[in-house]
C-alpha cells in the first residue's frame, strides 16, 4: 500500500489532468442514471399523452447527453493514455538508471530475470492500474456509499440492510486479500524466475546442444511454468470467491429490501414508490459492487508490482563519489599512476572468510606488474578493486597517495582502463566499442563518428537504425575511407589501438570495417576476436593505469607474440596490472607477484621467481617433472 503511495510525486505532477479524468469517470457513471430517468419521463409523459412535438425537446436532451457521454468516454481514454504510457517508461528509466550504478556485488545477488520482470511485467501492471483500476477503485466505493446513503434516507431499515451487507463484504475482502496477495507475489516472483530461465537457456544454448540437454532444460522450464500455473490458479480460485461475494451480497441485499419493502407495504408503513426506488438504487449499485472483485485483484497485483519495483529502487548505492553522489563526467587531472595496496582485504558480502587478505603491493608509475596464481585464488577479485567495481572491505588502495574512495568514481574509471577475461562488447560499431576507452575525448566528439554513423554514435537520439550489410555504405565517402582502415585521420587512434591488439587485420576484413555492428545485436565474433577488441579498447589513448585480466587467453601463440611485443613498446608509460597464466605474459612484466590462497606470497622478477620459488615454477609449467608426468601417463 505504502509502496503504491510512493508514486504520488509523479501523480501530483499531473494531478490536474488526473483529477479531470476522475471527474469524467464519475460523470460517465452518473450519466448512466440520468438517461433512464428522462426516458421514463418521456414514455410516461409526452408519448402517453400522444404529444409527438412535446417529446422532441427532452429527446434532444437525451441526444446531447448521449453525445456528451461518448465524448467523455473518448476524452477520458485519450487523456490518460499518454500520461500512463509516459509513467511506465519513466519508471523503467529510473529503475534502469539505478541498476546501472548499483555496485557489481549487489548485482550478482539478483538473478537477471528478476530485474527484467520488474522492469517490464510489473511496470506494465502499474501502467494499467493507474490508467484504469485506480480511478474505478476510488469511484466505485464513492458511488456505493452514495447509494447506501440514498437507501438509508428512503427508509432506516434499508440503511440497516446496507450496513448489514457491508459487514460480510468487508470480512470477505479481509479474509481473501491476504491469500490473493501472497499468491500474486509468488506468481510475479516466478515470472522473474521464468525470465531468468529463458535467458539462461538461450545464452547457454551451445552447452545444451553440445550435451544434448535441451530436453533437460525443457523439463526444468516446464517445472517452473507449472509452478507459475499453480500460483495463477490460486489467484483465479481466490478471485472466484471474491466475485462470488460481490455477486451474492447485493443480491441478498436486494432480496432483503424486497422482503422488508413488501412487508412494509402490506403493513402500510411504507409506500410502493419507496420500495421501487430502493430496488432501482440497489440494481444500479450491482455494477460497481460486482466490479470490486476485479478491481481488488488488480489493486493487489499492483501493490505487489510496486513492492517489487521499490525493492530494486531501494538498493543502496555503495560505490559513489566521496560526497555520496555520482558525478557523470568529471575530467581527470593528471596523475603519475603510483598504485599502493595497503593491508587490503576483500570479502564477499555473504562469505565468512575473506578471499583476499593482507595484500601489500606497491606499483611504481609506469611499472608493469604481473599477478600470477592458481585458478580461484582471487586474481580477478583483486583486479576488480582498482576500478572500484568492488570496494576493499579492509585496508586501502591509493593512487598517487590518495585513497581510491576519495576520487570521484567516474574520474577514477577514466584513469583506470580495464580488459576483462570475459570480454563484453556493446551492441554498436567496432569504432565506438574501441573508442569508448578513450580517456579524454568522448566517442561522440570524434568527427568520423559523427559523419559516419550519426545516429548511432550520438546514441542520444534514440532513433538510430541498426543497419549493417552493404546498404550502410551510403553513409558517405568520408566514412568508407576511415571505416576501411587508414592510419591517419580521425580514426588514427582507433586503428593504432587495433594494431596493438593485433585486431586491425580482421577488422579491415569485416563487412563494414570500423562501422561494422558487433555485440549481441550485431555480427558474432569469435572469442579471440572479441578479446582483442576488448584489449584495443583498454589500451586506446595510453591510459594512466591499465588492468588486464588474462587478456590473451583465447588468442593463438603467434598473435599473442605480436601483441606482447606491441604492448611492451606502447605501454612503457602506463602503470599496468596484468593477470597472467602463461610465462610469456609474465615475462612481459617488470615484476611478478605470486598470489596464493588470497595472499601475496612472493614478488620479484620472472627470472628471480623461477629461480627461487617452486610454486611459481609449477604455475609457469617450468618444473620439468610435471611435463614428464603427463608423458608417462600417456605411455
Amino acid at each position: 500500500m505504502r509502496s503504491l503511495w510512493r508514486f504520488w510525486p509523479d501523480v501530483r505532477a499531473r494531478l490536474g489532468v488526473y483529477l479531470f479524468i476522475f471527474v469524467l469517470t464519475l460523470g460517465s457513471m452518473g450519466i448512466a442514471l440520468l438517461v433512464p430517468m428522462i426516458t421514463g419521463w418521456i414514455v410516461d409523459g409526452p408519448i402517453a399523452r400522444g404529444d409527438f412535438a412535446g417529446m422532441l425537446a427532452p429527446l434532444a436532451l437525451i441526444l446531447l447527453i448521449g453525445i456528451a457521454e461518448a465524448a467523455a468516454v473518448w476524452l477520458r481514454r485519450r487523456l490518460i493514455a499518454p500520461i500512463t504510457s509516459r509513467w511506465e517508461v519513466l519508471w523503467r528509466e529510473r529503475l534502469y538508471d539505478r541498476l546501472q550504478y548499483v555496485a557489481v556485488g549487489v548485482h550478482d545477488a539478483w538473478p537477471a530475470g528478476q530485474l527484467l520482470s520488474r522492469a517490464v511485467n510489473d511496470l506494465s501492471q502499474l501502467r494499467r492500474f493507474f490508467a484504469f483500476g485506480l480511478q474505478f477503485l476510488i469511484a466505485s466505493p464513492l458511488i456505493v456509499l452514495g447509494g447506501g446513503i440514498i437507501l438509508a434516507s428512503l427508509h432506516p431499515y434499508f440503511g440497516i440492510i446496507a450496513i448489514a451487507a457491508a459487514v460480510p463484504t468487508v470480512t470477505a475482502i479481509a479474509v481473501l486479500e491476504r491469500r490473493y496477495r501472497l499468491a500474486s507475489r509468488s506468481a510475479q516472483d516466478t515470472m522473474g524466475e521464468i525470465a531468468t530461465d529463458v535467458e539462461e537457456a538461450v545464452q547457454g544454448i551451445r552447452i545444451l546442444k553440445a550435451f544434448g540437454r535441451s530436453p533437460w532444460a525443457a523439463q526444468r522450464f516446464r517445472a517452473l511454468s507449472e509452478r507459475l500455473r499453480g500460483f495463477e490458479l490460486t489467484k483465479a480460485y481466490v478471485d472466484s470467491w471474491m466475485f462470488d461475494a460481490a455477486i451474492m451480497i447485493p443480491v441478498l441485499a436486494l432480496t432483503a429490501i424486497l422482503a422488508v419493502g413488501t412487508w412494509g407495504v402490506i403493513g402500510g408503513w411504507m409506500t410502493v414508490g419507496q420500495v421501487i426506488a430502493a430496488l432501482t438504487v440497489t440494481m444500479f449499485l450491482r455494477m460497481p459492487i460486482e466490479m470490486v472483485g476485479f478491481l481488488l485483484a488488480d489493486f493487489l497485483m499492483s501493490v505487489t508490482a510496486a513492492n517489487r519495483y521499490w525493492e530494486v529502487m531501494d538498493l543502496p548505492l555503495d560505490i559513489t563519489d566521496p560526497d555520496g553522489e555520482i558525478s557523470e563526467d568529471p575530467q581527470p587531472h593528471s596523475y603519475a599512476g603510483h598504485i599502493r595496496f595497503d593491508a587490503v582485504e576483500y570479502r564477499f558480502a555473504d562469505a565468512e572468510e575473506p578471499i583476499l587478505a593482507h595484500i601489500d603491493l606497491d606499483i611504481a608509475p609506469g611499472e608493469t606488474l604481473a599477478l600470477v596464481g592458481a585458478t580461484g585464488t582471487g586474481k580477478t577479485a583483486l583486479a576488480a578493486l582498482l576500478p572500484r567495481l568492488q570496494d576493499v572491505t579492509a585496508g586501502s588502495i591509493t593512487l598517487d597517495g590518495a585513497d581510491l574512495r576519495d576520487f570521484r568514481i567516474n574520474e577514477l574509471r577514466r584513469i583506470v582502463s580495464v580488459a576483462f577475461e570475459d570480454p563484453v562488447l556493446f551492441s554498436t560499431t567496432v569504432r565506438e566499442n574501441v573508442a569508448m576507452g578513450l580517456k579524454h575525448a568522448d566517442v561522440r566528439a570524434l568527427p568520423a563518428a559523427e559523419t559516419g554513423t550519426s545516429g548511432r554514435a550520438a546514441g542520444a537520439s534514440g532513433t538510430e537504425t541498426a543497419t549493417s550489410g552493404p546498404e550502410s555504405g551510403t553513409s558517405g565517402p568520408a566514412t568508407s575511407t576511415s571505416g576501411l582502415g587508414d592510419a591517419h585521420g580521425p580514426d588514427a587512434e582507433v586503428w593504432e589501438a587495433l594494431e596493438i591488439a593485433a585486431a586491425a587485420d580482421f577488422v579491415r576484413r569485416l563487412p563494414d570495417g570500423l562501422n561494422t555492428e558487433v555485440g549481441e545485436q550485431g555480427l558474432s565474433l569469435s572469442g579471440g576476436q572479441r578479446q582483442r577488441l576488448a584489449l584495443a579498447r583498454a589500451v586506446i589513448g595510453k591510459p594512466r593505469v591499465l588492468v588486464l585480466d588474462d587478456p590473451l587467453s583465447a588468442v593463438d601463440v603467434d598473435t599473442e607474440d605480436r601483441v606482447q611485443t606491441a604492448l611492451r613498446r606502447v605501454l612503457g608509460d602506463s602503470t599496468t596490472l596484468v593477470i597472467a597464466h602463461r610465462p610469456s605474459t609474465a615475462a612481459l612484466a617488470d615484476r611478478v607477484a605470486v598470489l596464493e590462497g588470497g595472499r601475496i606470497t612472493d614478488t620479484g622478477t620472472h627470472d628471480e621467481l623461477l629461480a627461487r620459488n617452486r610454486h611459481y615454477r609449477d604455475l609457469m609449467g617450468a618444473s620439468s617433472h610435471a611435463a614428464a608426468e603427463t608423458e608417462e601417463v600417456r605411455r
Binding site: I47, I80, E93, Q203, R213, A374, E464, T630
Partner: protein, 605 residues
C-alpha cells in the same frame, strides 16, 4: 516524437513478419484451444447459465412488485414469497455459475499459456545455432515474458467477457425482433457504422500494437545487454549512452502504446456514440409508432429497457477487442519464432549407431565435405576428405580463423555441411537421433556457461542421472574438488550466490567435469583449457590421458601442450588441412608445425 524504427536489415527472418502472419497467429490460437475444447464448452455453458440468471433476477423482482405485492395485500402471500425466493435463488445460481466460470476460465487460460510457453521454449531449443547467432537472448526473452503477458491478459480476462457479451447481445437481439420488427431494425442499423468503426479501429490498433511488441523487445534487449555486461558498463562509464539508448527505444514504445490506446479511445467513444444515437432514434421512432397507434406503450417501455442491455455489453466487447489486438500482435511475434525452421534438425527416421565395441571409441569420416555459413557467402571449408580411425587422438592446430572450430562444429552438428557428409562409425550424423548423437559425442568449448542451481546440478548437465558419488569423482578428476569442499555448502552451493561465484578457470573445470560424467565415445575439445593456469591444465591433461584411453578425441588448442597426448596432428590454414602426421614426424621436419612448436617452446619459461 521519434518515428518508428525500420526493422533491422540484416535479420529479416527475425524482425520482418510474413504477410499472412495474422492468419497463422489465429491458427496458433485455435490450435492452443482445440485440445481443451471440452473444458471450453463447459466454460461457455457456465457463463451462459450465469448470464441467464443475472437477467432473470430483475424479472422476478418485477413479478414480486407487479403480481406478488397486490396479491399479498389481498391476503395471498404465496406469489410474493415465491417471487422473492426466486430472486434469491437466481442470485445464488448466478454467483455459483460465475464462481465456476472464473475457475474454469482460470484453468483453461493457464492450460493454454502453459502449452504455449512450453511449445515456444522447446522450439527455441530446437532452433539451430545459425538462428541463435543472429538473434539475441533479449529478444527471445521478450517473447516469453512481455508477449506472453499480452496473451495472458487476453485469455484470462477477455474470453469470459467476450462470450458473455456476445451471448447477451444475441439473446436480446432475438427478443427485440420478437417484440417489434421496425424498432429492432433501427436498433440493428447501428451495426452498419459499427462495422466500419471496427474495421478502422482494427487497422489503427493493429499497427500500433505491432509497434509496441517490436519496441518493447528492443527495450528488453537493451536492458538484458546492460545488466549482463554491468562490469564493462561501469568500467567504461557507459551508463549515460546506455540510458539514452533505453530512453530512445522506450520513447518509441510509449508512443506506440499511446497510439494503440488512442485507437481504443476512438473505438470506445465511437461505439458509445453509435449506441446512444440509436437509442435516441428508437425513442423517436417508438414514440411516433405509439402515438400513431402502431404499437403499445408497454412494448416500447420494455424495448427501451432491453435496448440498454443490448448496447451495454459493447463496452465489454471494445475492451476485449483491444486485448485481442494486443494479444494477436504478440502471438504474431511468437508465431514468427515458432515458424522458423532449423536447418539442422532431427532426422525423420533415425538410424542406429553400430554396437559399441568396448573401449575403442568411434571412427569419424568427412566425405567430400565443404561448408559456407551462407549460401552466397564465402566457403569457409573448401571440399575435403578426412578419416579419423576409432580411438585416435587428433590435435588440430592453426592460426585463428583457419577453420578449426568450423570443422568440429560440423562433426558435433552445430551446423550441417553444405555438401558431403560427416559420418560417425559410418553413419551420417544427420541420420542420428539427437539423444544418440549427444550421448556418444560431446564437445567442450572455451565458453563455460553456468546455469542457476548448485555446483552439483551444473556438473550433472553431463549426465542428469549421475549419482552423488559420480559427480564427486568427476570433480576430483578435474581438480575441482578441493575448492568445492572449501565452500560452506560444498556441492550444494548455489553458483549464483556470491560465495559460489566461480572464476572462469573454475567454470572451465566444471565443463570438463561435465564431459567426464557424460562418458562419451568421442570427445571434442575446442580451446577448452584457455582460461586455466598451467598446473590445472596439466592436471586436466593427466586426467584426459587416462580418460581418452579407448575413445576418439579431437582437440583444438593454441597451447601446443595438448600435442603431447595426441597420436596425430592436423595443421589447418585457410580452411584446408595442410599438414597431417604424427607429432614426432611434424616436429622435426621443416614444417609449419615445426615452426609453431618451437615458437611455443620459446613462449614457455
Amino acid at each position: 516524437m521519434s518515428p518508428a524504427q525500420p526493422d533491422r536489415a540484416d535479420d529479416p527472418e527475425i524482425e520482418e513478419l510474413p504477410p499472412d502472419i495474422s492468419r497463422r497467429a489465429r491458427r496458433l490460437l485455435a490450435s492452443l484451444i482445440r485440445p481443451h475444447l471440452a473444458l471450453a464448452v463447459v466454460l461457455i455453458v457456465s457463463i451462459t447459465v450465469g448470464g441467464i440468471m443475472s437477467v432473470a433476477g430483475p424479472f422476478f423482482v418485477a413479478r414480486a412488485i407487479d403480481d406478488g405485492l397486490p396479491a399479498a395485500v389481498g391476503g395471498d402471500t404465496g406469489p410474493l414469497v415465491v417471487a422473492i425466493a426466486a430472486v434469491a435463488l437466481t442470485g445464488v445460481a448466478d454467483a455459483a455459475a460465475t464462481w465456476l466460470s472464473i475457475r474454469l476460465n482460470g484453468r483453461l487460460s493457464q492450460k493454454i499459456l502453459f502449452d504455449l510457453r512450453g511449445r515456444l521454449f522447446t522450439h527455441v531449443q530446437r532452433l539451430d545455432l545459425r538462428y541463435h547467432e543472429r538473434s539475441t537472448s533479449g529478444r527471445l526473452v521478450s517473447r516469453q515474458t512481455s508477449d506472453m503477458e499480452s496473451v495472458q491478459q487476453f485469455v484470462s480476462q477477455a474470453l469470459n467477457g467476450m462470450v458473455l457479451s456476445l451471448l447477451t447481445m444475441s439473446a436480446i437481439a432475438v427478443t427485440l425482433v420478437v417484440m417489434n420488427v421496425p424498432l429492432a431494425l433501427v436498433a440493428f442499423a447501428g451495426f452498419i457504422p459499427l462495422v466500419f468503426l471496427t474495421v478502422y479501429a482494427h487497422r489503427q490498433q493493429r499497427s500500433a500494437y505491432r509497434r509496441t511488441r517490436t519496441s518493447i523487445a528492443r527495450v528488453i534487449v537493451q536492458f538484458v545487454e546492460t545488466m549482463g555486461g554491468i562490469r564493462a558498463v561501469q568500467s567504461f562509464r557507459r551508463q549515460r549512452p546506455g540510458l539514452e539508448r533505453l530512453t530512445g527505444e522506450d520513447a518509441v514504445y510509449a508512443q506506440a502504446n499511446t497510439d494503440a490506446l488512442h485507437g481504443v479511445a476512438t473505438f470506445a467513444g465511437g461505439t458509445r456514440l453509435i449506441g446512444n444515437l440509436s437509442q435516441t432514434g428508437i425513442i423517436l421512432l417508438g414514440g411516433w409508432l405509439v402515438i400513431n397507434g402502431y404499437t403499445q406503450l408497454g412494448v416500447l417501455a420494455a424495448f427501451l429497457l432491453y435496448l440498454r442491455r443490448f448496447y451495454g455489453p459493447l463496452d465489454e466487447l471494445v475492451q476485449s477487442f483491444s486485448l485481442y489486438q494486443s494479444a494477436s500482435a504478440a502471438l504474431e511475434k511468437i508465431t514468427a519464432v515458432l515458424d522458423a525452421e532449423p536447418d539442422v534438425d532431427a532426422p525423420a527416421d533415425p538410424q542406429p549407431l553400430p554396437e559399441q565395441r568396448t573401449g575403442t571409441g568411434r571412427s569419424i569420416s568427412f566425405e567430400d565435405v565443404s561448408f559456407a555459413y551462407d549460401s552466397e557467402g564465402p566457403e569457409v571449408l573448401p571440399t575435403f576428405d578426412l578419416e579419423i580411425p576409432a580411438g585416435q587422438i587428433v590435435a588440430v592446430v592453426g592460426a585463428t580463423g583457419a577453420g578449426k572450430s568450423t570443422l568440429v562444429k560440423l562433426l558435433t552438428r552445430m551446423y550441417d555441411p553444405s555438401t558431403g557428409a560427416v559420418r560417425l562409425d559410418g553413419v551420417d550424423v544427420r541420420k542420428l537421433a539427437d539423444a544418440r548423437l549427444r550421448e556418444s559425442l560431446v564437445m567442450v568449448t572455451q565458453e563455460s556457461y553456468l546455469f542457476s542451481g548448485t555446483i552439483a546440478d551444473n556438473i550433472r548437465i553431463g549426465n542428469p542421472d549421475a549419482t552423488d558419488a559420480q559427480v564427486l569423482a568427476a570433480a576430483e578428476a578435474v581438480g575441482l574438488d578441493p575448492y568445492v569442499r572449501s565452500l560452506p555448502e560444498g556441492y550444494d552451493t548455489d553458483v549464483k550466490k556470491r560465495g559460489g561465484r566461480l572464476s572462469s578457470g573454475q567454470r572451465q573445470l566444471v565443463s570438463f567435469a561435465r564431459v567426464f560424467l557424460a562418458d562419451p565415445d568421442v570427445i571434442v575439445l575446442d580451446e577448452a583449457t584457455a582460461h586455466l593456469d598451467i598446473p590445472s591444465e596439466r592436471l586436466i591433461q593427466q586426467a584426459l590421458a587416462r580418460v581418452l584411453e579407448g575413445r576418439t578425441a579431437i582437440i583444438i588448442a593454441h597451447r601446443l601442450s595438448t600435442v603431447e597426448i595426441a597420436d596425430r596432428v592436423l595443421v589447418m590454414d585457410a580452411g584446408r588441412v595442410v599438414e597431417d602426421g604424427t607429432p614426432a614426424e611434424l616436429i622435426h621436419g621443416n614444417s609449419r608445425f615445426g615452426r609453431m612448436y618451437s615458437a611455443w617452446q620459446d613462449s614457455l619459461a
